[in-house]
Amino acid sequence: MISQYAGISPKRDLLLLNTLGKAFKGKTFLHVNSTRAGGGVAEILHRMIPLLNSLGIDARWEVIEGDQKFFDITKKIHNALQGNMENITEEMWEYYYEVNKRNAKNINLEADGVLIHDPQPAPLINFKKNGKWIWRCHIDLSKPSPEVSNHLEPFCKKYDAIIFSVPKFARAMATDEFIVPPSIDPLSEKNMELTEEEIKGVAEKFQIPLDRPILLQVSRFDRFKDPIGVIQTYRKVKKYNDCVLVLAGSPATDDPEGEAVLEEVREYAANDPDIHILLLPPFSDKDINALQRMATVVFQKSLKEGFGLTVSEAMWKGKPVIGGAVGGIPLQIVHGITGFLIHSVDGAAFRTRQFLNNPLMAKRMGETGREYVRRNFLITRQMRDYLSLWYAVENKDKGIVFEL
């Protein structure tokens, strides 16, 4: 299975994966998260678990169960870790722990390596049976609520290692902390190659004209993604270059503000026939793929961002990208080399005009960006990092250079 990535992923990643696969042959590797469908973690685990198994590792994926009350609490914990003010009572913390305790009885936690994803199942560490346990935090921890951090810290301390997506989310702790950015799968529906006919078909479906440059942002209708700022950018550009704007996102059922933001965006667009606001149903990966491939310039004009993998998705398709200098976006956009980082609507407009008026520069940055993603943000690199990290934790006493 891993051979499917030959010619796509860097050779060194595949070589190291094979070498580590042999080192961990027959070992059990358990992943635990809180949802089987939806979200980036589930998306990558669906692909990663069979790939790990194909390397000879006995990998499995378990999902903790909880009721609405539990997930309301964990949503609050999630938001508070991302810096929001939340009121989490002692009773809520107790319930959070109780649900984890119940799950610990139902899930087989015996494994040589255990990777716990995000805060929802973090207390499972208290029911550790054997093996090395690693906590993987996917969320933005740059300004966490101190109260919530204090509640989670006793769990964190018990892990053998913690993984963050970007260095700025790490903090001074006694536990070893590693940096592993997330990744995209080049062979998934969202990123695989499409034919011209398929792309044209999606353009026709959404009535998007292909005779003018297309500016695109794919994201939830969330104020932090600044959809209004994107429309303002388009209007500034439109004075100089005729173009079309596409704002594509899924309905945010778990976000009470989603509807309101969508309405604001529609109102702000003021029936401009060249602004296409697309509300895509879940599992629209192939449509998103086609939209990204038909775009001339792709935005991720976020004001706050976890990692922003839509940037890597667009870069993988060779598109010039413009992103807000927040969260994990600067890790993907090397300013002036793989795209442009911006701090304002004016910046976004200016850089868009540069791309539209200099197609050769746009092409060059797009190509550099694709290669940058190939080297740094594909699923094989993330798997390689997980296995390397597990190996390093197992052999902690043997130094920091491993000759395999």
Binding site: K11, D13, I179, V334, I400
Partner: protein
């Protein structure tokens, strides 16, 4: 009857081929960060040698086009926008020191001088701080061996850039004296001293990995052409 035992001396075949290796690093956070020059200096004085090693020697393994030669210079230039300091830091050659401690001293010397003369440096916005990391390194064979110049040339064209980093940069610390794996093998095993000297003359700070690859390919290609022309005479 006395049994005669025949002793056959078997000459042990020593494999002198060049084995291409590759390397991968994973980042380990120290949890330390600096928002201004003073904090950079104070942390630099305390962090582990592994941390300084990562931000200086391993800078070139990051593989994209940079105008600096280490992470400290990069942050001074792009984060703090202290261009003069970035120039001073970029001019430090980590391979000219006998130890990481000596390199640390030189970095501190440059920072102290700058802080003394330009004390009014600004702080960066939250999120743009300098984050002190270390790296854990994995070294493994690529599965390619070269026995002569021609095989070496072909392999060099197809290995990943990180393999070139391992043999051209990382080797300088393993072997010392600014020597890389490529020139050592070409000189000592193949006897191609002229080729080895030309490779040693490449300035490691002025190219990215692909640039280094191109230069070495050009040198070996030239040597092979010359060899063929001589053999035709």
């Amino acid at each position: 009857m006395e049994q005669q035992v025949e002793h056959i001396e078997v000459e042990e075949q020593v494999d002198t081929s060049f084995e291409f290796m590759d390397m991968v690093t994973i980042l380990k956070s120290t949890g330390r960060k600096a928002a201004n020059l003073r904090q950079l200096r104070d942390n630099l004085a305390e962090v582990s040698e592994e941390c300084i090693f990562h931000h200086t020697y391993q800078y070139f393994s990051k593989g994209h086009i940079q105008e600096y030669t280490n992470d400290f210079a990069h942050w001074a230039g792009e984060g703090l926008e202290e261009r003069a300091l970035a120039e001073h830091l970029s001019n430090i050659d980590p391979y000219s020191f006998n130890s990481v401690e000596e390199l640390r001293e030189e970095l501190l010397h440059v920072l102290d001088y700058y802080i003394e003369n330009f004390p009014e440096t600004r702080a960066v916005l939250p999120g743009n701080e300098f984050f002190f990391n270390e790296a854990i390194t994995f070294v493994f064979p690529v599965g390619l061996r070269a026995r002569n110049l021609a095989e070496f040339l072909i392999a060099l064209k197809y290995v990943d850039a990180s393999s070139i980093y391992y043999h051209f940069y990382e080797a300088r610390i393993r072997l010392g004296r600014g020597i890389d794996d490529f020139s050592k093998w070409l000189d000592e095993v193949i006897g191609a001293k002229e080729v080895a000297d030309k490779i040693r003359a490449i300035d490691p700070f002025m190219h990215n990995m692909e640039g280094i690859r191109e230069h070495i390919i050009e040198i070996i290609d030239g040597a092979l052409r010359k060899e063929m022309e001589v053999s035709l005479e």
